[in-house]
Symmetry: C2
Subunit: 220 residues, 2 copies
């Protein structure tokens, strides 16, 4: 019962293949035959181990999202404990766990960040609900932390700025092509994660701290 020796090689192979193929062709664009063939397992293995294709999709997200949000909350808690809560440190605590996944090209984390960034805008209602509820506690924590760190920003304005921040991060993780498009096709330096974090943090910090127009102030 519950052989812990190979630690479910088949499950892992399926999850890895699914992650890569979902990123490349989307959920509906990836067939079970492609998927199991790439994973090197039998066609029926997915239904045996996960129950259905939909359940597999959810499992793919759970495997990465749970640790990532845990890390985000842990970093925030560490900041609160050390008393060094500033807008910049909060931003870094938020984007850090995502960008660290980007660096994990071998482990497939890179694949997942692209899949995740793309899924924010795509998924079925059920999947979007799942992701939403996985993010909800994290969002709540960061919202209150930012409200305290930025008391001069009206709350509903801050909601939108967090939305913008979230979007910038999601898009940056997902769409690597636009950079080349803007730069005029120069995919040389690829992803220097450290430099990217600096650039992203500077951009987001400035955006969060942006001066208020009069039209925004009254709506507080």
């Amino acid at each position: 019962m519950q052989a812990i020796k190979p630690e479910h090689v088949t499950r892992t192979r399926i999850l890895d293949a699914a992650e890569a193929l979902f990123m490349q062709h989307g959920f509906e664009g990836t067939s079970m035959r492609q998927l199991t063939s790439r994973a090197g397992v039998n066609l029926a293995a997915v239904n045996y181990h996960f129950g259905s294709k939909d359940a597999l999709i959810q499992a793919v997200f759970r495997r990465r999202l749970d640790p990532m949000n845990t890390a985000r909350i842990a970093e925030l808690a560490k900041l609160e404990a050390s008393g060094s809560l500033s807008p910049e440190t909060i931003i870094r605590a938020f984007v850090g766990p995502s960008l660290r996944l980007v660096e994990d090209a071998k482990g497939g984390g890179r694949n997942f960040t692209r899949l995740l960034g793309r899924t924010y805008t795509e998924p079925s209602k059920t999947l979007r609900a799942l992701i939403g509820q996985m993010y909800a506690p994290t969002m709540e924590r960061y919202k209150t932390a930012l409200e305290r760190a930025l008391p001069q920003i009206p709350k509903d304005e801050l909601v939108w700025r967090m939305h913008f921040m979230f979007g910038t991060l999601a898009y940056t993780l997902a769409a690597t092509d636009t950079v080349q498009l803007i730069a005029g096709c120069k995919p040389e330096d690829r992803y220097d994660a450290q430099l990217l974090e600096e650039r992203l943090t500077a951009f987001l910090l400035a955006g969060l701290l942006a001066p208020l127009k009069t039209s925004m102030r009254k709506a507080a």
Copy 2:
């Protein structure tokens, strides 16, 4: 020959239905039978008028993207003519045409913005290439305009900031749910396009003007 009387009602009905369904269920998730049924046309009509499902997808994008990019370039040219080129006016010229589509809920423009925002991160190689080449001239124009308006920003840093800007816009258009998630489920005010433009512009302008860290300066 070329009856111009009904102006190809069938084609338009197909494009409208496709726009809505692609946004809702994705390209692969939308079947020709759903699509033609919703459009109120025969199943074979798509293949007759467009040739294939793929060709239809491209037509959906051409119909909206061409005018939008034309508008973007026109607004930029108008700014250059009147000599009022500032970072803020450039941003407004860029995001304006997109947000104006958002307001067009009746005409289906709203559907398209969500479809577009989602497609940046999803599409097949061929579709991504098509969109890329449709955007290329616009990107080039705005890139040089911003380089002139922001001479203090190193060029490769500016490329990334444009990337961030593009991402924020794309995500804002596509993912309406995150706002509710952050706000704690409060979909009351929906989209006030004017207020949204102010908020977005303030955020993006501050991000583009963000102070440079030393690590960014050396890489110029």
